[in-house]
Symmetry: C2
Amino acid sequence: MAGPGNVLAVDVGGTKLAAGLVGPDGRLVTSVQVPTKPSEAGRGEELWATLAELLVDLCGGNSPVAVGIGCGGPMRWPEGAVSPLNLPAWRDFPLRARIRDLFDGVPVRLVNDAIAMAIAEHWRGAGVGSRAFLGVVVSTGVGGGLVLDGRVLTGGSGNAGHIGHAVVDPDGPPCGCGGRGCLEAIARGPALVEWALAHGWRGPPGADGRALRAAATAGDPVARAAFERAGSALGVAIATAAHLLELDTVAVGGGLSSAGELLLDPARRTFAAHVRMGFASRCAIVPAVLGVDAGLIGAAALVIRPDQYWAAEGAD
Amino acid sequence: MAGPGNVLAVDVGGTKLAAGLVGPDGRLVTSVQVPTKPSEAGRGEELWATLAELLVDLCGGNSPVAVGIGCGGPMRWPEGAVSPLNLPAWRDFPLRARIRDLFDGVPVRLVNDAIAMAIAEHWRGAGVGSRAFLGVVVSTGVGGGLVLDGRVLTGGSGNAGHIGHAVVDPDGPPCGCGGRGCLEAIARGPALVEWALAHGWRGPPGADGRALRAAATAGDPVARAAFERAGSALGVAIATAAHLLELDTVAVGGGLSSAGELLLDPARRTFAAHVRMGFASRCAIVPAVLGVDAGLIGAAALVIRPDQYWAAEGAD
């Protein structure tokens, strides 16, 4: 039920649409999700109908008091017209405006899903009390979000925190962004799998990050080297960010982070080799703790804790 | 004269002590400076006596309404106990407290000199109107400062903005910080000279960055390559910072930046090769414009525009 004080949270990803009701304290009261079938360009209205039905059902036919949304980028922000890389059905789709219309003009706010994760971890997870916090999502892509001096840094167009395109090896592999040597080009799940296969790993057909993790856990040296390489790249990127922002806490989440120490141990070792001055070396690299709920909790924070977590001026 | 509304600004560097009176609009009314003779450990009180005399004379025997200070790091901040790398006479010297005592307890504020430069350029220079600004100082060391969403980011201990330790080449040369491949290890003036000499440049005895710049301007290929290498490293560091912070403007100052396009052209080319997404690629890399006055103007901003440029809470 959309009880008094609960807000509606929405998390739009490449593989699922999730929605939940979140209490004023950030507790996820209930949530539902549906898979996003492989969606095609031109099928945007079908996808919208699916989401709208999910949201109306969850709210029991009532309007929520407010809605927060996390969505894959890129997007126009704060307008909230979205073009999620992994959802070709939506290109410049006016998601924020559609949800506002669906619920009679209640406040609706939207951010990049990696920023939503960082907000959630800062509010209710591994970053509580952090003065300079970076949340990193390592998954099909690599993204991130920043909360500095108690305020989210969203940037002028909603893309700040994008550590996936920190340059960790200027002569490194080409990146999907058009650049080269970005963290994402090395540490995104598919890049690890590709690297491992090219270096002699014999994964099962259609092997993914999960299979690679299993192989690494079982001791396969190439699979372990793939995580070592990705973790080391992560450590370089965090080293630069820590010097630049005096970070005290970095929380690493996303699907690939379920590999745990396979990824975090080389990240910490590389970080320590590059960061020797106390103001940056004290930064802790820790696992994110909210898991798949982070997207919904962070989205809810946009409307429950706007002083800290909603940065667009004059837009409601 | 310490006219009404003018504040006293102080800039403590490795080669000179400078002080000035700055009007409420950020205009430098008058300034004086004395060289810091090669100072030795244990001679801290002599250096202090020199500075105190300079300040009292400049104020005509009156107390200023407030004092802002930029000083080389490291330091304890916001306490303002300083240990400038290039001033061995001062180690944990209580500069902020001493100046407060000198002027009967008027407000005294102090930041790292690279942050002072960034503040000055944002307030009155190349960064006016920037929403996400990085000022970089390329000199004997490489430092920087950030002004994001209209507020300086000083960090918990006064070291934020330190782009000199962005890791631009994980396997690069060792850095004075104890790490490896930092921007500073490649782009600080002495590193360029050392690299050029090691690659066959025949500089004059005691050759410095100035001599190297002259050689590069005259077409010496090794000297030009030294600037190309440093500028490229600068471009990599700025690429990462632009992605992370959605920077719109980066201003490059400091002694080595007098090389102008010798440094900025490779920085822009490398930046463009690594930054392809619009939210970051629109960032402009420009020369700083305030020159040697930046330190004083930025220091004055700490007390004239504290809402934007003074970040320590509860400390005055």
